[in-house]
Chain length 270, copies 2
Protein backbone atom coordinates (compact mmCIF):
# COMPACT_ATOMS: atom_id res chain seq x y z
CA UNK A 1 0.00 0.00 0.00
CA UNK A 2 1.19 3.49 -0.84
CA UNK A 3 -1.83 5.55 0.13
CA UNK A 4 -2.26 8.09 2.91
CA UNK A 5 -4.16 5.41 4.80
CA UNK A 6 -1.12 3.14 4.62
CA UNK A 7 1.06 5.80 6.21
CA UNK A 8 -1.46 6.27 8.99
CA UNK A 9 -1.63 2.52 9.57
CA UNK A 10 2.14 2.30 9.77
CA UNK A 11 2.31 5.09 12.29
CA UNK A 12 -0.64 3.98 14.41
CA UNK A 13 0.36 0.31 14.38
CA UNK A 14 3.59 1.36 16.07
CA UNK A 15 1.69 3.07 18.91
CA UNK A 16 2.49 1.20 22.10
CA UNK A 17 -0.30 -0.07 24.34
CA UNK A 18 0.93 2.33 27.00
CA UNK A 19 0.31 5.33 24.74
CA UNK A 20 -3.04 4.22 23.36
CA UNK A 21 -6.44 5.04 24.85
CA UNK A 22 -8.09 2.71 22.39
CA UNK A 23 -7.20 -0.36 20.36
CA UNK A 24 -8.82 -0.11 16.94
CA UNK A 25 -9.36 -3.36 15.00
CA UNK A 26 -9.70 -2.65 11.30
CA UNK A 27 -8.98 -3.94 7.81
CA UNK A 28 -7.32 -1.41 5.51
CA UNK A 29 -9.82 -1.90 2.68
CA UNK A 30 -13.07 -1.94 4.68
CA UNK A 31 -15.45 1.02 4.21
CA UNK A 32 -17.36 0.14 7.38
CA UNK A 33 -14.14 0.22 9.39
CA UNK A 34 -13.23 3.52 7.72
CA UNK A 35 -16.26 5.13 9.39
CA UNK A 36 -14.88 4.50 12.87
CA UNK A 37 -11.38 5.31 11.65
CA UNK A 38 -12.37 8.78 10.40
CA UNK A 39 -14.07 9.41 13.75
CA UNK A 40 -10.90 8.47 15.66
CA UNK A 41 -8.79 10.78 13.50
CA UNK A 42 -11.33 13.59 13.66
CA UNK A 43 -11.47 13.49 17.46
CA UNK A 44 -7.70 13.19 17.84
CA UNK A 45 -7.94 9.97 19.86
CA UNK A 46 -4.67 8.21 20.75
CA UNK A 47 -5.30 4.80 19.26
CA UNK A 48 -3.33 1.71 18.36
CA UNK A 49 -4.23 0.27 14.94
CA UNK A 50 -4.47 -3.51 14.67
CA UNK A 51 -4.89 -4.86 11.15
CA UNK A 52 -7.28 -7.81 10.84
CA UNK A 53 -6.90 -9.99 7.76
CA UNK A 54 -10.19 -11.87 7.48
CA UNK A 55 -8.93 -14.21 4.73
CA UNK A 56 -7.03 -17.46 4.73
CA UNK A 57 -3.42 -17.08 3.71
CA UNK A 58 -2.22 -19.49 1.02
CA UNK A 59 1.17 -20.13 -0.56
CA UNK A 60 0.84 -17.02 -2.79
CA UNK A 61 -0.71 -14.72 -0.22
CA UNK A 62 -4.38 -14.13 0.59
CA UNK A 63 -6.70 -16.76 -0.78
CA UNK A 64 -9.79 -14.55 -0.47
CA UNK A 65 -11.47 -17.43 1.35
CA UNK A 66 -13.05 -15.78 4.39
CA UNK A 67 -12.01 -17.20 7.75
CA UNK A 68 -14.69 -18.75 9.92
CA UNK A 69 -15.45 -17.09 13.24
CA UNK A 70 -13.63 -19.95 14.95
CA UNK A 71 -10.53 -19.40 12.80
CA UNK A 72 -10.67 -15.67 13.53
CA UNK A 73 -10.90 -16.38 17.24
CA UNK A 74 -7.76 -18.51 17.03
CA UNK A 75 -5.79 -15.97 15.02
CA UNK A 76 -7.09 -12.79 16.73
CA UNK A 77 -8.47 -13.67 20.17
CA UNK A 78 -8.54 -10.07 21.48
CA UNK A 79 -10.35 -8.90 18.35
CA UNK A 80 -13.13 -11.50 18.64
CA UNK A 81 -13.53 -10.64 22.30
CA UNK A 82 -14.30 -7.08 21.11
CA UNK A 83 -16.41 -8.11 18.11
CA UNK A 84 -18.49 -11.21 18.84
CA UNK A 85 -19.33 -11.80 15.17
CA UNK A 86 -15.74 -11.26 14.06
CA UNK A 87 -16.39 -8.14 11.98
CA UNK A 88 -14.42 -4.91 11.70
CA UNK A 89 -14.50 -2.26 12.97
CA UNK A 90 -14.22 -2.97 16.68
CA UNK A 91 -12.76 -0.99 19.55
CA UNK A 92 -11.29 -1.92 22.88
CA UNK A 93 -11.59 1.07 25.18
CA UNK A 94 -11.45 -0.91 28.39
CA UNK A 95 -14.75 -2.33 27.19
CA UNK A 96 -15.60 -3.56 23.70
CA UNK A 97 -17.63 -1.67 21.10
CA UNK A 98 -18.52 -2.97 17.66
CA UNK A 99 -20.80 -2.04 14.67
CA UNK A 100 -19.48 0.79 12.49
CA UNK A 101 -21.93 3.62 13.20
CA UNK A 102 -22.28 2.67 16.86
CA UNK A 103 -18.49 2.75 17.19
CA UNK A 104 -18.33 6.16 15.46
CA UNK A 105 -21.02 7.58 17.75
CA UNK A 106 -19.32 6.05 20.78
CA UNK A 107 -16.04 7.72 19.82
CA UNK A 108 -17.88 11.02 19.56
CA UNK A 109 -19.46 10.62 23.00
CA UNK A 110 -16.50 9.14 24.86
CA UNK A 111 -13.74 11.55 23.73
CA UNK A 112 -13.12 15.27 23.66
CA UNK A 113 -12.51 17.00 20.37
CA UNK A 114 -14.87 18.50 17.79
CA UNK A 115 -18.42 17.15 18.21
CA UNK A 116 -19.60 14.83 15.44
CA UNK A 117 -23.28 15.19 16.33
CA UNK A 118 -25.30 18.42 16.46
CA UNK A 119 -26.39 19.60 19.88
CA UNK A 120 -30.12 20.01 19.14
CA UNK A 121 -32.26 16.85 19.34
CA UNK A 122 -34.03 17.56 16.06
CA UNK A 123 -30.76 17.99 14.19
CA UNK A 124 -29.48 14.78 15.78
CA UNK A 125 -32.64 13.00 14.61
CA UNK A 126 -31.96 14.18 11.05
CA UNK A 127 -28.41 12.82 11.21
CA UNK A 128 -29.77 9.46 12.40
CA UNK A 129 -32.53 9.38 9.76
CA UNK A 130 -30.05 9.96 6.96
CA UNK A 131 -27.50 7.52 8.37
CA UNK A 132 -30.24 4.88 8.30
CA UNK A 133 -31.07 5.99 4.76
CA UNK A 134 -27.44 5.44 3.69
CA UNK A 135 -27.42 1.99 5.24
CA UNK A 136 -30.77 0.87 3.86
CA UNK A 137 -31.26 2.73 0.60
CA UNK A 138 -27.84 3.66 -0.77
CA UNK A 139 -25.07 1.27 0.25
CA UNK A 140 -26.78 -2.05 -0.66
CA UNK A 141 -27.19 -0.79 -4.24
CA UNK A 142 -23.48 0.01 -4.51
CA UNK A 143 -22.69 -3.65 -3.83
CA UNK A 144 -25.48 -4.90 -6.10
CA UNK A 145 -24.35 -2.67 -8.98
CA UNK A 146 -20.93 -4.27 -8.67
CA UNK A 147 -22.05 -7.84 -8.07
CA UNK A 148 -25.17 -8.32 -10.22
CA UNK A 149 -24.40 -10.78 -13.00
CA UNK A 150 -26.78 -9.40 -15.64
CA UNK A 151 -26.73 -5.98 -17.27
CA UNK A 152 -30.39 -5.63 -16.25
CA UNK A 153 -29.57 -6.26 -12.60
CA UNK A 154 -26.65 -3.84 -12.72
CA UNK A 155 -28.79 -1.14 -14.31
CA UNK A 156 -31.53 -1.52 -11.70
CA UNK A 157 -28.98 -1.34 -8.88
CA UNK A 158 -27.29 1.71 -10.44
CA UNK A 159 -30.66 3.46 -10.73
CA UNK A 160 -31.49 2.65 -7.11
CA UNK A 161 -28.07 3.87 -5.96
CA UNK A 162 -28.56 7.15 -7.84
CA UNK A 163 -32.11 7.53 -6.51
CA UNK A 164 -31.03 6.94 -2.92
CA UNK A 165 -28.32 9.58 -3.24
CA UNK A 166 -30.69 11.98 -4.95
CA UNK A 167 -33.24 11.67 -2.10
CA UNK A 168 -30.51 12.44 0.41
CA UNK A 169 -29.08 15.28 -1.68
CA UNK A 170 -32.53 16.81 -2.23
CA UNK A 171 -33.18 16.93 1.48
CA UNK A 172 -29.78 18.48 2.17
CA UNK A 173 -30.29 21.01 -0.60
CA UNK A 174 -33.70 21.97 0.87
CA UNK A 175 -32.10 22.55 4.27
CA UNK A 176 -29.21 24.64 3.00
CA UNK A 177 -29.84 25.79 -0.57
CA UNK A 178 -26.81 28.03 -0.48
CA UNK A 179 -24.79 24.88 0.10
CA UNK A 180 -23.44 24.13 3.53
CA UNK A 181 -20.14 22.34 3.15
CA UNK A 182 -21.33 19.15 4.78
CA UNK A 183 -24.49 17.07 4.57
CA UNK A 184 -25.82 18.41 7.86
CA UNK A 185 -24.77 22.00 7.11
CA UNK A 186 -21.63 23.84 8.15
CA UNK A 187 -20.30 21.18 10.50
CA UNK A 188 -18.78 17.82 9.67
CA UNK A 189 -20.88 15.10 11.32
CA UNK A 190 -21.56 11.37 11.51
CA UNK A 191 -23.79 11.78 8.46
CA UNK A 192 -20.76 12.64 6.35
CA UNK A 193 -18.83 9.76 7.88
CA UNK A 194 -21.68 7.34 7.15
CA UNK A 195 -21.56 7.95 3.39
CA UNK A 196 -18.06 9.13 2.42
CA UNK A 197 -16.32 5.71 2.11
CA UNK A 198 -18.87 4.48 -0.43
CA UNK A 199 -18.94 7.70 -2.43
CA UNK A 200 -15.19 7.33 -3.00
CA UNK A 201 -15.60 3.65 -3.87
CA UNK A 202 -18.41 4.39 -6.33
CA UNK A 203 -16.25 7.05 -7.99
CA UNK A 204 -13.30 4.67 -8.27
CA UNK A 205 -14.48 1.05 -8.22
CA UNK A 206 -17.89 1.27 -9.89
CA UNK A 207 -16.36 3.52 -12.51
CA UNK A 208 -13.55 1.07 -13.23
CA UNK A 209 -15.60 -2.12 -13.35
CA UNK A 210 -18.99 -0.83 -14.48
CA UNK A 211 -18.35 2.47 -16.28
CA UNK A 212 -20.32 4.29 -13.60
CA UNK A 213 -20.37 8.09 -13.43
CA UNK A 214 -22.21 10.25 -10.92
CA UNK A 215 -24.66 12.68 -12.51
CA UNK A 216 -23.36 16.24 -12.47
CA UNK A 217 -26.22 18.47 -13.56
CA UNK A 218 -28.61 20.38 -11.36
CA UNK A 219 -28.41 21.84 -7.87
CA UNK A 220 -28.84 18.53 -6.03
CA UNK A 221 -25.88 16.85 -7.70
CA UNK A 222 -23.84 20.02 -7.41
CA UNK A 223 -24.63 19.98 -3.69
CA UNK A 224 -23.44 16.38 -3.42
CA UNK A 225 -20.27 16.94 -5.45
CA UNK A 226 -19.32 20.02 -3.45
CA UNK A 227 -20.02 17.99 -0.32
CA UNK A 228 -17.55 15.33 -1.34
CA UNK A 229 -14.95 17.96 -2.27
CA UNK A 230 -15.27 19.30 1.28
CA UNK A 231 -14.94 15.82 2.77
CA UNK A 232 -11.95 15.03 0.59
CA UNK A 233 -10.21 18.12 1.92
CA UNK A 234 -10.60 17.05 5.51
CA UNK A 235 -7.41 15.72 7.14
CA UNK A 236 -9.30 13.04 9.10
CA UNK A 237 -10.65 11.63 5.87
CA UNK A 238 -7.36 11.93 4.00
CA UNK A 239 -5.52 9.98 6.68
CA UNK A 240 -7.79 6.97 6.12
CA UNK A 241 -7.86 6.88 2.33
CA UNK A 242 -6.97 3.89 0.20
CA UNK A 243 -5.48 4.69 -3.21
CA UNK A 244 -7.64 4.13 -6.32
CA UNK A 245 -5.29 1.38 -7.57
CA UNK A 246 -5.55 -0.54 -4.34
CA UNK A 247 -9.32 -0.16 -4.19
CA UNK A 248 -9.69 -1.45 -7.73
CA UNK A 249 -7.50 -4.45 -6.97
CA UNK A 250 -9.34 -5.11 -3.72
CA UNK A 251 -12.79 -5.16 -5.31
CA UNK A 252 -11.93 -7.53 -8.17
CA UNK A 253 -13.62 -10.37 -6.29
CA UNK A 254 -16.87 -8.43 -6.09
CA UNK A 255 -16.78 -7.60 -9.76
CA UNK A 256 -16.26 -11.25 -10.80
CA UNK A 257 -18.60 -12.48 -8.06
CA UNK A 258 -16.01 -14.55 -6.23
CA UNK A 259 -15.97 -12.40 -3.08
CA UNK A 260 -16.57 -14.23 0.21
CA UNK A 261 -16.73 -11.32 2.64
CA UNK A 262 -19.69 -10.84 4.95
CA UNK A 263 -20.85 -7.81 2.92
CA UNK A 264 -20.58 -9.76 -0.34
CA UNK A 265 -22.64 -12.63 1.04
CA UNK A 266 -25.22 -10.32 2.52
CA UNK A 267 -25.86 -8.29 -0.60
CA UNK A 268 -25.51 -11.20 -3.03
CA UNK A 269 -28.27 -13.17 -1.31
CA UNK A 270 -30.64 -10.28 -0.83
CA UNK B 1 -60.78 -2.83 18.40
CA UNK B 2 -61.27 -3.66 22.05
CA UNK B 3 -57.70 -3.69 23.27
CA UNK B 4 -55.94 -1.36 25.67
CA UNK B 5 -54.34 0.24 22.64
CA UNK B 6 -57.78 1.05 21.26
CA UNK B 7 -58.73 2.87 24.46
CA UNK B 8 -55.53 4.89 24.30
CA UNK B 9 -56.16 5.74 20.66
CA UNK B 10 -59.69 6.92 21.45
CA UNK B 11 -58.45 9.09 24.27
CA UNK B 12 -55.44 10.53 22.45
CA UNK B 13 -57.29 11.10 19.18
CA UNK B 14 -59.57 13.44 21.11
CA UNK B 15 -56.64 15.53 22.32
CA UNK B 16 -56.98 18.99 20.83
CA UNK B 17 -54.12 20.55 18.91
CA UNK B 18 -53.94 23.21 21.61
CA UNK B 19 -53.20 20.59 24.28
CA UNK B 20 -50.75 18.52 22.27
CA UNK B 21 -46.99 19.05 22.20
CA UNK B 22 -46.69 16.48 19.44
CA UNK B 23 -48.83 15.05 16.67
CA UNK B 24 -48.17 11.31 16.39
CA UNK B 25 -48.99 9.62 13.07
CA UNK B 26 -49.48 5.91 13.57
CA UNK B 27 -51.39 2.84 12.43
CA UNK B 28 -52.92 0.79 15.24
CA UNK B 29 -51.46 -2.50 14.02
CA UNK B 30 -47.92 -1.37 13.18
CA UNK B 31 -45.09 -2.71 15.37
CA UNK B 32 -42.69 -0.04 14.10
CA UNK B 33 -45.13 2.69 15.10
CA UNK B 34 -45.59 0.98 18.47
CA UNK B 35 -41.94 1.69 19.27
CA UNK B 36 -42.45 5.46 19.10
CA UNK B 37 -45.83 5.08 20.80
CA UNK B 38 -44.36 3.29 23.84
CA UNK B 39 -41.73 6.03 24.09
CA UNK B 40 -44.42 8.76 24.07
CA UNK B 41 -46.38 6.98 26.80
CA UNK B 42 -43.26 6.24 28.84
CA UNK B 43 -42.15 9.87 28.80
CA UNK B 44 -45.62 11.21 29.53
CA UNK B 45 -45.68 13.40 26.42
CA UNK B 46 -48.94 15.24 25.62
CA UNK B 47 -49.62 13.99 22.12
CA UNK B 48 -52.45 13.89 19.65
CA UNK B 49 -52.88 10.50 17.94
CA UNK B 50 -53.67 10.54 14.21
CA UNK B 51 -54.55 7.17 12.71
CA UNK B 52 -53.14 6.55 9.23
CA UNK B 53 -54.85 3.88 7.15
CA UNK B 54 -52.33 2.98 4.46
CA UNK B 55 -54.80 0.88 2.46
CA UNK B 56 -57.39 1.65 -0.17
CA UNK B 57 -60.92 1.51 1.14
CA UNK B 58 -63.35 -0.55 -0.94
CA UNK B 59 -67.08 -1.15 -0.68
CA UNK B 60 -66.61 -3.68 2.16
CA UNK B 61 -63.89 -1.80 4.04
CA UNK B 62 -60.12 -2.00 3.65
CA UNK B 63 -58.98 -3.66 0.47
CA UNK B 64 -55.47 -4.34 1.75
CA UNK B 65 -54.15 -2.71 -1.39
CA UNK B 66 -51.46 -0.34 -0.15
CA UNK B 67 -51.90 3.28 -1.17
CA UNK B 68 -49.21 4.87 -3.30
CA UNK B 69 -47.20 7.72 -1.83
CA UNK B 70 -49.18 10.10 -4.05
CA UNK B 71 -52.49 8.74 -2.74
CA UNK B 72 -51.23 9.06 0.83
CA UNK B 73 -50.20 12.65 0.16
CA UNK B 74 -53.72 13.41 -1.04
CA UNK B 75 -55.44 11.72 1.87
CA UNK B 76 -53.00 12.76 4.63
CA UNK B 77 -51.01 15.80 3.52
CA UNK B 78 -49.73 16.70 6.99
CA UNK B 79 -48.57 13.13 7.54
CA UNK B 80 -46.55 12.97 4.32
CA UNK B 81 -44.99 16.32 5.13
CA UNK B 82 -43.70 14.64 8.32
CA UNK B 83 -42.77 11.32 6.70
CA UNK B 84 -41.43 11.80 3.18
CA UNK B 85 -41.75 8.10 2.30
CA UNK B 86 -45.26 7.87 3.74
CA UNK B 87 -44.43 5.40 6.50
CA UNK B 88 -45.53 5.34 10.13
CA UNK B 89 -44.47 6.29 12.70
CA UNK B 90 -43.91 10.00 12.21
CA UNK B 91 -44.02 12.94 14.58
CA UNK B 92 -44.74 16.59 14.16
CA UNK B 93 -43.08 18.46 17.00
CA UNK B 94 -42.86 21.79 15.22
CA UNK B 95 -40.46 19.94 12.94
CA UNK B 96 -40.91 16.47 11.44
CA UNK B 97 -39.24 13.29 12.65
CA UNK B 98 -39.66 9.87 11.07
CA UNK B 99 -38.07 6.33 11.29
CA UNK B 100 -39.19 4.29 14.31
CA UNK B 101 -36.01 4.11 16.38
CA UNK B 102 -34.95 7.63 15.48
CA UNK B 103 -38.37 8.89 16.59
CA UNK B 104 -38.14 6.95 19.86
CA UNK B 105 -34.66 8.34 20.56
CA UNK B 106 -35.83 11.83 19.62
CA UNK B 107 -38.72 11.56 22.09
CA UNK B 108 -36.24 10.53 24.76
CA UNK B 109 -33.96 13.49 24.05
CA UNK B 110 -36.61 16.16 23.48
CA UNK B 111 -38.85 15.53 26.50
CA UNK B 112 -38.51 15.26 30.23
CA UNK B 113 -39.51 12.07 31.99
CA UNK B 114 -37.65 8.85 32.74
CA UNK B 115 -34.57 8.51 30.49
CA UNK B 116 -34.78 5.77 27.88
CA UNK B 117 -31.03 5.67 27.27
CA UNK B 118 -28.30 4.98 29.85
CA UNK B 119 -26.09 7.90 30.79
CA UNK B 120 -22.72 6.20 30.16
CA UNK B 121 -21.46 6.19 26.55
CA UNK B 122 -20.50 2.51 26.69
CA UNK B 123 -23.94 1.48 27.92
CA UNK B 124 -25.52 3.62 25.22
CA UNK B 125 -23.32 1.90 22.64
CA UNK B 126 -24.60 -1.47 23.85
CA UNK B 127 -28.21 -0.33 23.48
CA UNK B 128 -27.47 0.82 19.93
CA UNK B 129 -25.62 -2.40 19.05
CA UNK B 130 -28.53 -4.55 20.18
CA UNK B 131 -31.14 -2.32 18.55
CA UNK B 132 -29.26 -2.81 15.26
CA UNK B 133 -29.15 -6.54 16.02
CA UNK B 134 -32.95 -6.60 16.43
CA UNK B 135 -33.43 -4.78 13.15
CA UNK B 136 -30.95 -6.84 11.15
CA UNK B 137 -30.89 -10.28 12.73
CA UNK B 138 -34.21 -10.84 14.49
CA UNK B 139 -37.13 -8.94 12.95
CA UNK B 140 -36.60 -9.93 9.28
CA UNK B 141 -36.85 -13.59 10.28
CA UNK B 142 -40.17 -13.00 12.03
CA UNK B 143 -41.63 -11.82 8.74
CA UNK B 144 -39.96 -14.56 6.72
CA UNK B 145 -41.21 -17.27 9.09
CA UNK B 146 -44.72 -15.99 8.48
CA UNK B 147 -44.42 -15.34 4.76
CA UNK B 148 -42.21 -18.13 3.40
CA UNK B 149 -44.26 -20.39 1.17
CA UNK B 150 -42.39 -23.65 1.78
CA UNK B 151 -42.02 -25.52 5.04
CA UNK B 152 -38.26 -25.51 4.44
CA UNK B 153 -38.21 -21.72 4.16
CA UNK B 154 -40.34 -21.34 7.27
CA UNK B 155 -38.12 -23.67 9.25
CA UNK B 156 -34.96 -21.79 8.23
CA UNK B 157 -36.54 -18.45 9.15
CA UNK B 158 -37.75 -19.84 12.50
CA UNK B 159 -34.26 -21.12 13.27
CA UNK B 160 -32.73 -17.75 12.38
CA UNK B 161 -35.31 -15.92 14.50
CA UNK B 162 -34.55 -18.16 17.48
CA UNK B 163 -30.78 -17.81 16.94
CA UNK B 164 -30.99 -14.02 16.75
CA UNK B 165 -32.94 -13.89 20.00
CA UNK B 166 -30.57 -16.37 21.63
CA UNK B 167 -27.54 -14.23 20.74
CA UNK B 168 -29.20 -11.20 22.26
CA UNK B 169 -30.37 -13.13 25.33
CA UNK B 170 -26.92 -14.66 25.87
CA UNK B 171 -25.30 -11.28 25.93
CA UNK B 172 -27.89 -9.89 28.35
CA UNK B 173 -27.51 -12.94 30.56
CA UNK B 174 -23.73 -12.47 30.59
CA UNK B 175 -24.14 -8.84 31.69
CA UNK B 176 -26.66 -9.54 34.46
CA UNK B 177 -26.71 -13.26 35.32
CA UNK B 178 -28.94 -12.61 38.30
CA UNK B 179 -31.48 -11.27 35.84
CA UNK B 180 -32.01 -7.53 35.49
CA UNK B 181 -35.64 -6.93 34.66
CA UNK B 182 -34.90 -5.36 31.30
CA UNK B 183 -32.53 -6.13 28.45
CA UNK B 184 -30.09 -3.43 29.48
CA UNK B 185 -30.38 -4.23 33.19
CA UNK B 186 -32.57 -2.62 35.84
CA UNK B 187 -33.85 0.23 33.68
CA UNK B 188 -36.31 0.13 30.82
CA UNK B 189 -34.62 1.46 27.68
CA UNK B 190 -34.86 1.82 23.92
CA UNK B 191 -33.49 -1.71 23.63
CA UNK B 192 -36.66 -3.08 25.20
CA UNK B 193 -38.78 -0.85 22.99
CA UNK B 194 -36.91 -2.03 19.89
CA UNK B 195 -37.87 -5.68 20.41
CA UNK B 196 -41.10 -5.85 22.44
CA UNK B 197 -43.66 -5.39 19.61
CA UNK B 198 -42.27 -8.36 17.68
CA UNK B 199 -41.92 -10.61 20.71
CA UNK B 200 -45.64 -10.20 21.33
CA UNK B 201 -46.43 -10.79 17.66
CA UNK B 202 -44.28 -13.94 17.55
CA UNK B 203 -46.06 -15.26 20.64
CA UNK B 204 -49.48 -14.57 19.13
CA UNK B 205 -49.27 -14.45 15.34
CA UNK B 206 -46.48 -16.93 14.60
CA UNK B 207 -48.01 -19.30 17.11
CA UNK B 208 -51.45 -19.07 15.48
CA UNK B 209 -50.39 -19.38 11.86
CA UNK B 210 -47.19 -21.42 12.15
CA UNK B 211 -47.43 -23.32 15.45
CA UNK B 212 -44.42 -21.40 16.76
CA UNK B 213 -43.40 -21.61 20.42
CA UNK B 214 -40.47 -19.84 22.07
CA UNK B 215 -38.00 -22.24 23.71
CA UNK B 216 -38.30 -22.21 27.49
CA UNK B 217 -35.37 -24.18 28.86
CA UNK B 218 -32.09 -22.83 30.12
CA UNK B 219 -30.98 -19.56 31.66
CA UNK B 220 -30.93 -17.57 28.41
CA UNK B 221 -34.54 -18.29 27.52
CA UNK B 222 -35.57 -17.81 31.14
CA UNK B 223 -33.87 -14.41 30.97
CA UNK B 224 -35.80 -13.51 27.84
CA UNK B 225 -39.15 -14.73 29.17
CA UNK B 226 -38.73 -12.88 32.46
CA UNK B 227 -37.78 -9.82 30.39
CA UNK B 228 -41.02 -9.94 28.46
CA UNK B 229 -43.01 -10.45 31.67
CA UNK B 230 -41.43 -7.23 32.97
CA UNK B 231 -42.22 -5.37 29.73
CA UNK B 232 -45.79 -6.66 29.71
CA UNK B 233 -46.26 -5.26 33.21
CA UNK B 234 -45.23 -1.79 32.14
CA UNK B 235 -48.11 0.72 31.77
CA UNK B 236 -46.49 2.39 28.74
CA UNK B 237 -46.45 -0.93 26.92
CA UNK B 238 -49.93 -1.93 28.04
CA UNK B 239 -51.42 1.29 26.73
CA UNK B 240 -50.21 0.46 23.21
CA UNK B 241 -51.18 -3.20 23.01
CA UNK B 242 -53.31 -4.75 20.30
CA UNK B 243 -55.40 -7.73 21.38
CA UNK B 244 -54.37 -11.21 20.18
CA UNK B 245 -57.57 -11.61 18.14
CA UNK B 246 -56.97 -8.35 16.29
CA UNK B 247 -53.31 -9.17 15.65
CA UNK B 248 -54.24 -12.56 14.22
CA UNK B 249 -56.83 -11.01 11.95
CA UNK B 250 -54.42 -8.26 10.90
CA UNK B 251 -51.62 -10.64 9.89
CA UNK B 252 -53.79 -12.95 7.76
CA UNK B 253 -52.42 -11.29 4.63
CA UNK B 254 -48.85 -12.08 5.64
CA UNK B 255 -49.71 -15.69 6.35
CA UNK B 256 -51.38 -16.20 2.95
CA UNK B 257 -48.78 -14.03 1.21
CA UNK B 258 -51.21 -11.39 -0.04
CA UNK B 259 -49.88 -8.56 2.14
CA UNK B 260 -48.91 -5.37 0.30
CA UNK B 261 -47.38 -3.34 3.13
CA UNK B 262 -43.90 -1.91 2.87
CA UNK B 263 -42.60 -4.46 5.42
CA UNK B 264 -44.21 -7.33 3.51
CA UNK B 265 -42.65 -6.24 0.24
CA UNK B 266 -39.26 -5.67 1.81
CA UNK B 267 -39.01 -9.04 3.50
CA UNK B 268 -40.71 -11.00 0.72
CA UNK B 269 -38.19 -9.79 -1.86
CA UNK B 270 -35.10 -10.20 0.27
Amino acid sequence: MTSEGAKTIEQRSATSDAHADVTFFSSWFCPYAQRAWIALEEKGVAYKYVEINPYEIGADGDTKRALSLEQKRERYPEFVRCSPRGLVPALNHGKPVWESLVAAEYIDEAFDGPPLMPSHPHERALVRIWMAHCNDRVIPHYYKALMAETEEGRQAARDNFINGLYELGSFMHSLSPSGGCFLGGDRFSLMDIALAPWWQRAAVVLRHYRGFKFPEDGPVWQRLHSWFDAVAGRPSYQRTVVSPEELIRNYAGYADNSATSDAAKKFRDS
